[in-house]
């Protein structure tokens, strides 16, 4: 009993510490970023949408106009939570600092990419992007085989970005919720489930009975924990992504590819001889078809996890795009305050549509989690399957 309480207290202390650090960092963020930016107050919808959808190197909450700069632009106060950056620089080695100290360490962010300070392409230069890129590619071809490093040292960016940081938050939330549920089973042993336990139990049982047990046969119980993690992680991430200030975690290909990669590894780890036989020498068809099937099946093997990654990413990103585009419509039609009537007129329509899309996204959030977990189970189940080769004899 005492042991359990000690653990609980430690967990609570850790959470408190995490929350405290978050606030502390937020505070430094406020100071570090104060009065740093002078910007044109006009909303540029494409920039805003991209800023919301893509990953960021800090956690931007809101910006407030606080005054006028000398250049005539508006001075903004950015409320941001700085995140830890971890960078491998081939010249300076491994560097670790908070995003609020980026400039002091000689780095800057442009268009979501990390650059050495002063090397980020200017916005104007960016418009001529394709030509610059072509020039670099031509140069690379001329130096065939030689690494072209137009920016000096090799930089590998392993910063804990907004998305990865929020993944940790989701993980902690899941731990908190399901440890409470697990505790409920210990406390209410031989009693009906109560509170959060009774809310989560049918969902847990749904994943176990209607996903794992249907498709995974004997190994169902072994993979149920993984499928549960997958399902709840994606679901909660998607829900978090629908709230203000937060990342669309599953709307990032980096994340969905990582999840699909685990599925792919599990497919390979569970594949039987029979599975590979069906890929490389399809039974029961003439030899020329066997070669054709080999190509088809090999593509299929790769396409399965790829489709998983793209489906999740595309669904979540599309939802965010729609919401942000509808909101941006107000500023586009209102010409950034030049035609206020059009802006105000658009607003109710945009808000109504956004509400509808939000409702849809709430459903999509759980459907995509279900689909990802379901297909993972289906693919692993297919790989484990052994067929009866009766059909061989008929040809």
């Amino acid at each position: 009993m005492g042991h359990k309480n000690t653990f609980k207290n430690m967990f609570k202390a850790a959470l408190t510490a995490a929350a405290f650090f978050l606030l502390l960092f937020a505070n430094t963020g406020l100071r570090a970023n104060h009065a740093e930016h002078c910007e044109n107050p006009d909303v540029k919808p494409s920039n805003e949408v991209m800023h919301h959808i893509t990953d960021n190197h800090n956690w931007h909450i809101a910006s407030f106009p606080v005054g006028k700069c000398e250049s005539g632009e508006t001075e903004y106060f950015h409320l941001e939570i700085p995140l830890p950056w971890l960078i491998y620089n081939s010249e300076k080695g491994i560097q670790f600092f908070m995003s609020s100290a980026a400039h002091e360490n000689g780095y800057e962010i442009a268009e979501g990419e990390l650059y050495l300070l002063g090397q980020a392409p200017e916005e104007e230069a960016n418009h001529g992007g394709p030509e610059v890129l072509e020039a670099i590619e031509e140069a690379a071809e001329e130096h065939a085989g030689v690494e072209v490093e137009p920016h000096g040292p090799t930089i590998l960016d392993f910063s804990l970005t907004r998305t990865s940081f929020q993944m940790i938050l989701i993980g902690l939330v899941l731990l908190l919720i399901f440890m409470a549920v697990a505790k409920g089973y210990k406390k209410n042993e031989d009693h009906a489930p109560k509170g959060i336990q009774s809310f989560m139990e049918p969902i847990v049982m749904f994943v176990r009975d209607d996903i794992a047990r249907v498709y995974l046969g004997k190994k169902a119980d072994k993979y149920t924990p993984y499928l549960l993690t997958l399902f709840f992680f994606i679901w909660f991430s998607n829900l978090l992504g629908l709230t203000p200030f937060n990342s669309n975690i599953a709307g990032s290909t980096s994340v969905t590819i990582a999840l699909a990669l685990i599925t792919f590894i599990l497919i390979l780890a569970n594949s039987t001889k029979d599975f590979w036989l069906h890929i490389f020498w399809f039974p029961g068809v003439p030899v020329p078809i066997k070669f054709l099937m080999m190509i088809v099946e090999m593509i299929g093997l790769i396409v399965k996890p790829t489709a998983l990654a793209i489906r999740l990413f595309a669904n979540i990103t599309a939802g965010h795009f729609m919401v942000l585009s509808l909101i941006s419509l107000i500023f586009i039609l209102g010409k950034n305050g030049a035609v206020p009537a059009a802006g105000w007129g658009t607003a109710p329509v945009a808000v109504a549509f956004t509400t509808a899309i939000f409702a849809l996204e709430m459903i999509v959030a759980i459907i995509q989690a279900y689909v990802f977990a379901l297909l993972t189970a289906v693919f692993i189940g297919q790989a484990m399957e052994t067929h009866d080769h009766d059909h061989d004899d008929h040809h």
Binding site: D157, F158, F233, V255, L261
Partner: protein, 164 residues
């Protein structure tokens, strides 16, 4: 393109974070939850089976009771039948006996009556004989007052004796 292109850093972090939380959740949440669910399901399964067993036992007991009841009823039936038969036979026996007794008594009575009758008849005969003798005596006395008549009577009597 920026939206679609995966980034190495985020990819690595996503993989690491997901796997770490998977193992933590597995150890501290899924395992106890799934075990508790399994245990409860087994408990329910067991209770259901036990209930079925109890029901079967009850059924058995009931059918056994019914069998015993049926047997008892059959036995009663048999006993009653036997009793009825015995009663019948007893009555019949008694009746025959009584009849025989009555017959015997009747026969005896008849015999007695017969013998009494015979005796009475004999008596009457004797009486009649005595009376006849007395009458005859008186008559003779009267008749034999003279000699001739005495002779005639003796003759007559001798004749009669002959005739007898």
């Amino acid at each position: 393109m920026e939206v679609i292109m995966p980034k190495l850093g985020l990819f690595v972090w996503a993989l690491v974070i997901f796997l770490i939380f998977f193992f933590l959740l597995k150890k501290f949440a899924w395992k106890p939850i799934l075990e508790a669910l399994k245990k409860r399901e087994e408990g329910i399964e067991n209770s259901l089976q036990e209930a079925q067993k109890a029901r079967d036992e009850m059924q058995n007991l009931k059918s056994e009771n019914e069998k015993i009841l049926r047997e008892a009823r059959a036995e009663r039936e048999v006993i009653l039948k036997e009793a009825r038969e015995m009663k019948e036979s007893m009555i019949n026996e008694a009746r025959t006996e009584a009849k025989e007794e009555a017959d015997r008594i009747m026969a005896q009575t008849r015999d007695e009556i017969q013998s009494e009758k015979m005796r009475a008849i004999t008596e009457i005969k004797n009486q009649v004989g005595m009376l006849s003798l007395q009458i005859a005596e008186k008559l003779l006395r009267k008749e034999l007052a003279d000699k001739d008549q005495k002779q005639a009577v003796v003759d007559q009597m001798i004749d009669d004796l002959h005739l007898n």
